[in-house]
Structures are given as C-alpha cells and as structure tokens.
Symmetry: C2
Subunit: 217 residues, 2 copies
C-alpha cells in the first residue's frame, strides 16, 4: 500500500502542506492524542477544514465520517509519503552568514535531513570548520558528493555567481536544489530547483500589511 | 494614478510575483533595455507568459499589442505599488545563527529594507553587537520600536518560544511579522504573519524530486 500511495499523483499545493500536517500530527501523537476531527485539526494548523479534507482525500481514504482521523495512522501514511525514515544527505555551497547558520542549525528538528559537506570558493575559508563540517573547495564537489552519498544540494551563493554554483551541482548528478538566490538559474528539465526568497516574502508581507491597514482607516 | 493603483485589489498570487518582476525589470533598465515582449520577459523570469499577461492586467493597462511593455514605465508602476521608495524599518527578535545572518546581510540588495534593532532574551547576548546593531533585551522592545519608527518585525525565535515573542511584537502595535518558526502562532485579525519554513520547502523539494526520478525510471 505504501508503494501505491507513493506513486499516486498528489497536487503540488497539497504536497507543500504535508510537512506541516505531519509536524502537527507528531505533536498530537507526542501528547497521546489518538484521533482528531478535521475542524479541530483545522484550528490547530490554521488551514481551512475544507482544504484539509480535500488534501487528505488526495492521499487516500484516511478518515470516517463522524469519527475523525486516526492520528497514529496518519503519521504512518504521511511519513511514508514524505519518506522521512530515509536519511537525506545534503551538500551546501556558499559558506557566508546564511550558509554558516544553515550548517549550524542543520534542520535539527528533522533527524533525517543532514548537511554533511560544505563548499566555498574563498581560499581563506577552505579548510576551516563550521561546527564539525570542514569547508572544501568547490573543485572537490563531485568527489565529495560521490563519497558522502549526497542527493540534495543547497546554494546560498549570491545571484551573480549562482549559475556557476548550480552548474557544478547539476554536473555532479544531483537533481534536487534549494536555492537562496532569487534570480532564476538555468537547469536541465530533470533538475528541480526550489527558490527561497526572503526579500520577496518580506516585500509581499509589507504590501499586504499596508493594503490591509489602508482599508481599516 | 498611483493612488488609484495602490487601492486596486491585486490577487495574492500576483502580488507575490511583483517583487520578482520588479527585480528583473530593474536589471533590464540597468542594461538600458527600454521595451520587452511578454514572451521574452517570460523566458527571463521563468514564469509562463500567460501568467505574466494576467498579472500585468491586474495592475492596469501596461502594454500595447505588438509593442510589448515599456520597461521604465513598468519599473515606475511596480515601485509605486510595492512602495519601494519608502524606507521600511525592521526589528529582529531572536539573535541566534539565523538572526545574526539576517542582520549581517540586511537585505542589502534592497536599500529601503533596514533591520534597525535586534532583541533577544539571552542575558549573555544583550549588549553585544551584530555589526553595528546592539542586541537589546526583549523588555525594551516597545520603547525601541517607538523610538526607531519600526513598522515590521522578523522573528527567528524557535517554535516553543515563538508565541511569546509574537505577543510582544503584537503588543507594540506592529502588524507585519515575518516568522521563521514553522508552528502557527495566534494573532489578532489585523496582524499579518508570513511564515518562511525552510524545512518544509526542502521536504517538498525532495518529495517532488523523488517522484520525478521514479517516473523517469
């Protein structure tokens, strides 16, 4: 059944909410809550209950009318879909302030996500450590990725150099890249790039906040 | 006309893309490109041209058929909508690794976005500096916000303490909050919270990458 679920097509918007659902389900599980109704779950995660029911329906037959959802079962199903039992070994390129912060935090609430190697082009950084991770030259990327079994890369390289860094990542065979530089990079069709753009998020927030305040006046 | 545009309702999905559009338009402007067709712009920003035309139509009458878009005019319109001429003064709560990185980077590509004060609860941090910014006690938040004219807050406080930090921000009268802790916080209706959850972005990326790789096999 797990294989079946893994091969079902889940819409992107739904898939984006699964990690949030799973986090809350685990919190409920830790508090020994064993079942929850979609309305209660909705209040907890602050997502409309209609959205939750629709999301859950994409995943499978997860609940019964009038009973709600079985928490341990949902945890099992969502963990399987997100494959959280399997370690993901991550390489980081760009060891500036943000890169250092990412290595130090190292997704500590998610044991399966591990930044195992870090790279930069700055000769003064190469050979120094961030916690236990030695910063290596970008020239050693391919070799290190093979040796460490890396399947995911994070780039914090600024936009003007990002394409070079992404090219090195793509050449290594990695197809999952999280990019903190907002400018779009060019990659082959089989490579997935996810952008995290803090400035855009902040600007959008400010835009809506100002619209909202204007309306209230 | 600017006031008119500012009061027009722009869908959230469109508003989220405006900062990206503006960034590329400025790059074009810097290269002395004065007009561009939606198809060319689409290739540059990697967003379908139908989406771009629809987004632009929400903003106003921006282009002429067969001519394309006037770059300096678009820059003016989008800058006005996003109000990028006005300085936004930002307070940061939580001076761990990520907080430090944010203060040091300080949205340097956007001159109008400035983190002007930083707060923590750790007595060992209070009084120390991140670049030129002195870390203050959270007890001084309200006073500092008033003095500095802060209108936006960023919290990097971990989930377990985030609600306390958000409460302090809300009590100060700030209504725009960027929250790097993924767990949902409770705020009054007039307060806008934008979550940036790097772990969820990474998990979603890995999910789609694995689905995609499975399909190709």
């Amino acid at each position: 059944m797990n294989e079946l679920m893994k091969n079902k097509a889940i819409p992107k918007a739904t898939a984006k909410r699964l990690p949030l659902y799973l986090r809350y389900l685990k919190m409920l599980g830790d508090s020994e809550v064993i079942r929850i109704k979609s309305k209660e779950f909705s209040e907890l995660v602050q997502i409309p209950s209609a959205t939750i029911r629709r999301d859950f329906s994409h995943v499978g037959e997860l609940g019964r009318s009038g009973y709600g959802y079985d928490v341990p079962y949902l945890i099992e199903v969502f963990s399987n879909i997100l494959n959280t039992q399997e370690e993901k070994r991550i390489a980081l390129i760009g060891c500036g302030n943000l890169g250092k912060a990412l290595v130090k935090n190292n997704f500590r609430r998610n044991e399966n996500l591990n930044i195992v190697c870090a790279f930069d082009t700055d000769p003064e950084m190469i050979g120094t450590k961030i916690d236990d991770v030695v910063i290596q030259s970008i020239d050693e990327f391919q070799q290190a990725v093979n040796k460490e079994g890396v399947t995911v890369a994070i780039s914090t390289v600024p936009s003007q150099y990002a394409q070079n860094a992404i090219d090195v990542i793509v050449d290594s065979g990695i197809t999952a890249i999280l990019n903190f530089a907002p400018d779009r990079v060019t990659v082959p069709n089989n490579v997935n790039v996810q952008y995290i753009d803090m400035t855009t998020e902040l600007q959008t927030l400010i835009y809506f906040d100002e619209k909202f305040s204007a309306k209230k006046k």
